[in-house]
């Protein structure tokens, strides 16, 4: 069975700094998708970034980028120029083609001024 592990329960960073959130996963499949979701205090789950496993190029979305290491089964999220609004819980998620998302337990990120 596939599993997703986020080894950092909590992280903190100051405004304008860069922070990296870690995620590892376990699968025997070759075709899958990886996601980072953000859950602010409102509790709504918001998609941050998505990566297809068959793509070697790391996905980027403005200040958010990933470091996808397929052989190591690692999928970390880098947030550059952190802002107060980035304060949230961040979930790494894995999806094999045609199945539902499997989530990690989340990392709570606090951004301070």
């Amino acid at each position: 069975a596939q599993t997703v592990t986020q080894s950092q329960p909590e992280m903190s960073v100051q405004e304008a700094e860069t922070v990296t959130l870690s995620c590892t996963y376990d699968t025997s499949e070759n075709n899958y998708y990886l996601f980072w979701y953000k859950q602010p205090p409102s509790r709504q789950m918001i998609l941050v970034i998505r990566q297809e496993a068959y793509k070697q190029q790391n996905a980027t979305e403005n200040r958010f980028s990933v470091n996808f290491q397929k052989a190591a089964k690692s999928f970390s999220l880098k947030i550059s120029d952190s802002q107060l609004g980035d304060t949230a819980m961040y979930f790494c998620a894995f999806r094999q083609a045609g199945t539902a998302l499997i989530f990690g337990k989340g990392t709570t990120l606090s951004v301070s001024s």
Binding site: N31, Y32, Y33, F35, Y37, S42, R43, Q44, M45, I46, L47, R50, E52, F91, R95, A97, G98, A100, L101, I102, F103, G104, K105, G106
Partner: protein
């Protein structure tokens, strides 16, 4: 554009009472639909998913059931709530193609007292 709504947003129910949470998706046809639960301080657990009307897959045996009476309507129910059913429930949808992003509703807080 596609939207997803779920209600009620907040619910306080006594132990042993029934439950009905509803979710509807607009702007798309034949979506895959999902119910997730998030217990306090924990990650998301997939409860049910559906690929079509009347087609429900259960991931975790429990006190809950799901139904899909219409293409874009997904209902989470219970005949008799338990204290352990308390949590944050999220409905979600994705396009039927494999690997597509899963989008979440606003969530419903359920407190069983």
């Amino acid at each position: 554009s596609q939207t997803i709504h779920q209600w009620p947003a907040t619910l306080v129910q006594p132990v042993g009472s029934p439950l009905s949470l509803e979710c509807t998706v607009e702007g798309t046809s034949n979506p895959n639909l999902y119910w997730y639960r998030q217990a306090a301080g924990r990650g998301l657990q997939l409860l049910f998913y559906s690929v079509g009307i009347g087609q429900i897959s259960s991931e975790v045996p429990q006190n809950l059931s799901a139904s899909r009476p219409q293409d874009r309507q997904f209902i989470l129910s219970s005949k008799k709530l338990l204290l352990s059913d308390s949590g944050f429930y999220l409905c979600a949808w994705s396009r039927p193609d494999s690997g597509n992003t899963i989008y979440f509703g606003e969530g419903s807080w359920l407190t069983v007292v």
